[in-house]
């Protein structure tokens, strides 16, 4: 079966999810992965979107975290202050899903700007929910396309903490989660080293070589001793993902 690198990412991310997780889902690939998991091996997974929709089961992927369908298929919809104070900061979220523009070796994320804050070359959307998802969720999964543009030696701005520029930002900080435990790209899977917190490649996707990853990373990336190969997408995973995306496309462009 042919599959794109983006499909590989969604499917790999979906596999990391399970029924008993309470998942705080961002827009884009995180939403794709979470709903794919719900439609395949984790039908009871609980999805929560920042807009206040608790335990929602959308039939198509939302274009925004506040789409109408999220609200209609939710158990209930709470206010935004309640979402951030009770459900996120209250510690009920098992996994926070984040995307990013830039990531460094300690999984710090930059979604604020490229260049200097005062006169940015490129002004990015900003942190949104990420800075607090990263510390209030019990753990964080990150999905990002793998290139020298995203995997940079030093992020221009730490919008959202991974483990800090020195890998020690979470040390003896009370009442926060474990931080990033999984980074999924279109080339590989990375996990933080238990001691140094530096990201280490633990699995290469099918047809991806070490050189591809080295080529696409702005620092001298480390590989785990026993490097695994990520199982290729199955028929069912691809079929469900593609039908989900088709339904979504039809739905969003159909509306006027």
């Amino acid at each position: 079966m042919e599959f794109t690198s983006s499909e590989m990412m969604s499917i790999t991310a979906a596999r990391a999810l399970s029924n008993d997780l309470i998942c705080f889902v961002g827009i884009g690939l995180p939403s794709e992965a979470a709903n794919l998991a719900r439609l395949t091996h984790a039908p009871d997974i609980t999805l929560i979107y920042e807009s206040g929709t608790l335990q929602t089961r959308p039939d198509v992927l939302p274009l925004s975290i506040g789409d109408g369908e999220l609200c209609q298929s939710a158990l209930t919809t709470v206010s935004v202050p309640e979402m951030f104070r009770y459900w996120l900061q209250g510690g009920h979220i098992s996994v926070g899903f984040l995307g990013t523009a830039q990531i460094d070796r300690f999984a710090n994320l930059n979604t604020t700007l490229i260049g200097d804050y005062r006169e940015p070359k490129i002004r990015l959307p900003g942190g949104g929910g990420a800075p607090e998802i990263a510390t209030s969720a019990q753990e964080v999964f990150i999905t990002v396309k793998h290139s020298r543009r995203t995997f940079v030696k030093d992020v221009d701005f730490v919008t959202t903490v991974g483990f800090g520029r020195d890998g020690k930002a979470r040390d003896n900080v009370p009442n926060i989660g474990r931080g990033p435990t999984l980074v999924i790209t279109d080339l590989c899977i990375l996990k933080p080293d238990p001691d140094t917190r530096e990201l280490v490649v633990t699995s290469l996707h099918p047809n991806v070589t070490r050189e591809d990853v080295i080529e696409a990373t702005g620092w001298d990336i480390r590989f785990a001793d026993e490097l695994e190969i990520t199982p290729a997408p199955t028929h069912e995973e691809l079929a469900v993902l593609r039908s989900l995306k088709e339904r979504t496309h039809a739905h969003h462009s159909g509306q006027q």
Partner: protein
């Protein structure tokens, strides 16, 4: 008690040059028609406050209404950048735009504290982030009981808040349903408030714990059917996702934007 006014009268009476204005609606119920009226009335030097600026602030910034923006995520959701916002921040067009950037959690807490009449909000926030380095509003306090270091930010208390809602009754009470976001907090935190509604009815049909604003916390109500388009109003019309995608090309270029603005906003008078 809330005054029933036309959108034109409400904006003219309650929004003044130099005001801090919060036009909230978390993807849902965004008061776009009110934003267009602010553009038509050429309000200037506004400090715009909004967690997710969205198209309405992109248009107001591009039209030169704003001198400052307080926000926490400035993109076109699921599509890309807000090009008028970037143009102002990166190239000072049409005018220099000061920005004050928070996280969503911080702004949500700041509105909540504003509605609660407090001067500050306290949250477990900004751990390890650079945002405190570029936003002097972000301070840290120590919990007197546990010693934990927590973030403290000023509460948000705008001069005026503008929201869109499903409906109001004839006494001026307002029902907000679905993704209610930060609507109630924005109105309660503000000195003045305008609510545009889809319709005015005899009975709101609100459930026992529904989100209802009593008329005595609202300054003005204007009946503006479709007042949230291209955002949406649960129970009335869907989100115009196609337009959100089209906006990317419209806003990317200054002239196409100005032409769109002239044709779709400036020359289209609000229901007076």
């Amino acid at each position: 008690m809330a005054e029933f006014l036309s959108l034109k009268e409400a904006v003219s009476k309650y929004i003044h040059d130099g005001d801090t204005v919060a036009m909230e609606g978390f993807t849902h119920l965004i008061p776009v028609a009110a934003g267009h009226e602010v553009i038509r009335q050429e309000k200037r030097d506004l400090t715009l406050i909004r967690m997710t600026p969205d198209l309405v602030y992109d248009q107001m910034i591009g039209a030169g209404c704003a001198k400052k923006l307080i926000f926490s995520w400035g993109g076109n959701p699921g599509v890309g950048s807000l090009h008028r916002l970037r143009d102002a921040v990166e190239k000072n067009w049409p005018n220099k735009l000061e920005i004050l950037e928070h996280s969503h959690a911080a702004m949500a807490n700041a509105y909540e504290a504003g509605a609660a009449g407090l001067p500050l909000a306290v949250l477990r926030g900004y751990v390890g982030s650079d945002l405190p380095k570029v936003n002097p509003q972000i301070r840290f306090i120590e919990c007197p009981f546990t010693g934990e270091r927590l973030a403290a930010i000023p509460s948000i208390r705008p001069d005026v808040a503008v929201i869109h809602a499903q409906r109001a009754d004839r006494q001026g009470n307002v029902l907000i349903e679905g993704i209610i976001g930060i609507q109630k907090e924005a109105v309660l935190a503000a000195k003045r408030s305008i609510v545009t509604v889809e319709e005015i009815v005899d009975d709101l049909g609100a459930s026992v714990n529904a989100c209802v604003l009593p008329s005595w916390v609202v300054s003005a109500i204007a009946e503006v059917p479709g007042g949230a388009r291209p955002s949406y109003t649960l129970g009335y019309y869907d989100r115009d996702n196609a337009f959100y995608k089209d906006w990317d090309a419209i806003a990317r270029d200054r002239d196409t934007f100005l032409a769109w603005l002239k044709h779709n906003v400036i020359e289209k008078g609000a229901a007076s």
